[in-house]
């Protein structure tokens, strides 16, 4: 085995460096080589199409096929669009962790992790490679559904801003759920355990959200104070607003409702939970996107730490 002199490579830009990661190539090839990838995409798009058809049919039948009121068609367009987006959130929540909860744990199960760790690949390259390939697949799902979302354009009622915001939220959510699965995978020995942890954390966060919603509802019905809220009370309102905004469904629905009611993309003037004063708050989608990007960065950093940690 002789070594040949290879000419020094030209400086690489960020994307070339990312695509140079052998883990990405390996994972994507593996994912798309079998039938599994195509089956997931097929089932995903079929389900969304089925629901669109169902909703359209129900709306048209309930209001009569002869209804040619443009306002009615706009409502149909908006409902279809919202349903597609919410369905996508739901499916991303299911598929994302499934794609990554085995990413590192399966390397441990297959006993290939030592081979990777003793190579010149850094823990960061391993984690980012796994994340990028899973996120790429999930984003493929998000983008393949855009034509379905765009059906709403034919009916009207949906603007470019809504499409852009929903796509941004879906992209951020997709990457976050991949990072969540990867995080649990980075310190567990078994894929099954990582999967259980991932779905449990999603479930717990939803239960906590519902409990929060319920407590606020109860609190609101007893709070009849009409005096101006204190600074502390305003802080509680903001905190609760931020907590609400961590839920993708709430964030999407509220952002849409603020856009319709207040014609505002970024700010809403909302009633404080205390007293009758109003507060200017950021639209939930902004909080959601910022928070999920932050959480994703934290989860990736922790995953890198766990993969990099020498065996004990």
């Amino acid at each position: 085995m002789e070594t040949t002199n290879i000419p020094p490579a030209a400086p690489k830009n960020f994307f070339s460096r990312v695509l140079d990661n052998p883990i990405i190539t390996k994972e994507l090839k593996g994912r798309m080589r079998g039938r599994q990838g195509f089956i997931i995409i097929g089932v995903y798009l079929s389900l969304i199409s089925f629901f669109i058809f169902l909703i359209y049919l129900l709306l048209v039948l309930s209001d009569g096929l002869s209804n040619s009121d443009p306002g009615f068609l706009q409502v149909v367009g908006k409902i279809i669009f919202s349903t597609v987006v919410l369905l996508e959130f739901l499916m991303i929540g299911f598929i994302g962790p499934a794609l990554t909860s085995g990413a590192i744990a399966s390397e441990r199960e297959r006993k290939t992790i030592d081979l990777l760790k003793t190579s010149l690949l850094s823990a960061r390259a391993i984690v980012l490679g796994k994340l990028s390939s899973a996120a790429a697949f999930l984003l493929l799902l998000v983008f393949t559904a855009i034509p379905l979302q765009s059906l709403a354009f034919f009916l009207g009622g949906v603007g470019m801003a809504e499409i852009a915001i929903s796509t941004l939220m879906l992209v951020v959510t997709a990457i976050f759920f991949c990072a969540l699965g990867l995080f649990f995978s980075s310190f567990t020995q078994r894929t099954l355990i990582a999967t259980v942890y991932s779905y449990s954390s999603i479930l717990i966060s939803f239960i906590l959200f519902i409990m929060l919603l319920f407590s606020i509802g109860v609190f609101d019905s007893y709070n009849s104070s009409s005096v101006s809220p204190t600074r502390f009370e305003n802080m509680i309102t903001v905190t609760v607003w931020v907590l609400f905004s961590t839920n993708p469904f709430f964030a999407a629905i509220m952002s849409e409702s603020i856009l319709i009611d207040e014609q505002s993309l970024y700010i809403t003037t909302s009633n404080s939970f205390f007293g009758s004063a109003t507060l200017s708050l950021l639209s939930p989608w902004i909080i959601y996107v910022a928070l999920y990007i932050l959480l994703t960065v934290i989860l990736i950093s922790l995953s890198v730490y766990f993969v990099n940690r020498p065996d004990r």
Binding site: M1, A9, K111, T118, S119, L120
Partner: protein, 315 residues
Amino acid sequence: MSAIIEFKNLSKRFKTRIAVNSLNFNIESGEIFGLVGPNGAGKTTTMRMLVTLLKPDHGEIYVGGHSIRKNVNEVRRQIGFMPDSFGVYGDMTVQEYLDFFGACYKIHPAQRARLTDDLLELVDLGHRRNDMVDTLSTGLKQRLGIARVLIHDPGILVLDEPASGLDPRARVEIRELLLEVARLGKTILFSSHILADVGELCSRVGILEDGKLVALGTLEQLRAHVMPHRQVHIGLLDRRDEAQIMLQSLAGVSEVRTVDNITRVSLEVDFSGDDEALHQLLVKLLAENYPVIHFSEESNNLEEVFMRTTKGIVS
């Protein structure tokens, strides 16, 4: 020859158990070094520290002068590691598998393609290059594993139990392959429970027990240390008891034992003396018409050395 791997006062503890206890030894460049010891002796822990998968609690290992603590990437560049049980990516072809690891070692794609061809030829897997890795037998996967550790042309191969779980033919093939790799000038450190393989392959052997190095040297040195006399096996058709008494009276013979096995009974003689003296012993037996059917000296048997060196302690 100069030391390419230096273990300096190396220790590792897992909770209350001391896995490796103050190891101090060197491995010379170009040698095949065998690390043997009972289960739990610390062989795998030592190897995992060497390949930077484990951090030592105390001490240091230098690989080609580079510290495993401070120059991790340089150490990884110099070492090819094959763990005791390693998995493969079943959804890749043999060629893709090697190419993937070549990329993991940041080898240029053009060079990777050529290296892959060379290595597949070396391990005799060229005809299976387009087959999925999953379809290979255990022996062939092990050969592919050896090709993988060579992909970045490391100077040192660290192989943990490379022949475990292989059938006799595959074991012999792996042994021959390792000899071929050693001829390329590589330093090989390997552990094995198959002492016959270690005895045949290694230029030096280290015996670990309870985390400590209890013996180190060439097989001859170890044998001379633990078995200061020569051991001769003499098979007789008849007059065994008579021969035993006669042999015990001879100069240079310290002990004569009767050894029973299923097929025959023979005498085992502990003898001190040179080849000429040994020859005279045989001449005397024949001169007195003892019906000798075999007369052989125990070769440098690592198993015997191992049994006499270790006490069966597991840390």
